[in-house]
């Protein structure tokens, strides 16, 4: 039972760390919370047995690192769009082509303004 929670805690912590460095970092909260819960249970069971394995401490360390990264990114990172030059060029080209195309159409239904 203790082994199970140690393994689950470690997997959750690794998963949380991976997610925290990806763009979906906000979702790292879920595996981080799971890692904390499993880690605490494993810690409690280990204490009862008389010896706390280092891997449990490593799990907590990983969890704290992932939560720190997640919180930092959530608080200090501003989301913005960049590198839209191609899109702007595409928009302008599309408009020019469209106007040429529209010149050849029957637009009688539209009131001339």
């Amino acid at each position: 039972m203790k082994q199970l929670f140690i393994i689950l805690g470690l997997i959750s912590a690794i998963f949380a760390t991976i997610l925290s460095v990806l763009p979906l970092s906000n979702l790292a909260i879920f595996p981080a919370a799971a890692a904390l819960v499993f880690g605490l249970i494993a810690f409690y069971l280990s204490k009862k047995a008389g010896y706390v394995k280092k891997i449990i401490q490593f799990t907590f360390l990983l969890t704290i690192i992932s939560l720190s990264i997640t919180i930092y990114k959530a608080v200090f990172t501003t989301v913005e769009v960049a590198n839209t030059e191609d899109l702007i060029i595409k928009e302008e080209e599309s408009k020019q082509e469209a106007l040429e195309e529209l010149e050849g159409l029957d637009l009688e239904d539209i009131n001339i303004e």
Binding site: L22, P23, L24, N26, L27, I29, F30, T77, V79, E80, V81, A82, N83, T84, D86, L87, K90, E91, S94, K95, A98, L99, E101, L102, E103, L105, D106, L107, D109, I110, N111, I112, E113
Partner: protein, 255 residues
Amino acid sequence: MKLITFIIVLLITISFNAQNTAIGKAEKLVFTASYNMSGVLNNIAEVTMETSEAKTSKATLLRLKCTAATYSKWDGFFKIRDLYESYVNPSNLTPYLHNRDVNEGSYDKAMKYTFDPKTNKVKSVQTKKNKPTENRNLTIHAGTKDIVSTIYSLRLIDFKNMAVGTKKSFTILFDWEEMKGQFTYLGKETINTAIGKKECYKLAIGSNQPDVLKGTNSNFLWLTADGNKIPVYGKFKIPVGNGELKIKSVAGLKN
């Protein structure tokens, strides 16, 4: 990205003869598209809807332009730069020309529809990366519009005098097919937005789904209950979690 495409595709056919009193000539709406899983939001992309005049020697049309661009943190993983635009009659938003230029990761596709409202015929030209250009002539039903015109046309509807529970069906032309759907008017609801607290008309968007008023429909759209009827919030169900579209800023409103 499929999430953005899914959010944008509001399938519906409306035979609109309503006049345009809501959409101005220089309007700009900016939205944040997000993914929501169990209350945790992840911002994915910025969606912009702009209008401008398109002047030809014969007439002045209204250009309806929608762009979607992923935020810079996503560009390294999956970069989206999409352009959807329509050139329409400014009075009733009947489309004459529609362009769709999609660039999502390594997927490139362009689709052009040229509408003839008198004969209900559409000439389409599809261009895909590393594939030959494909031309098709289509015949559509009266009132069928492209996706951009359809989204804007929702704002021509008179919700003020509409009974709660009213359903309206629509047809939208997308990828050579006419897709049917419907919306149900769910009444007014006041929500908090980035542009303040707004009383809104709430719509359930679906595809002939039953039991909408019981809350089983999963796609909703909130339009401000004023003369502009701008979309301020959209919520769409996806396989895991929800997609959300939230207003970020507005400019150039007609009313």
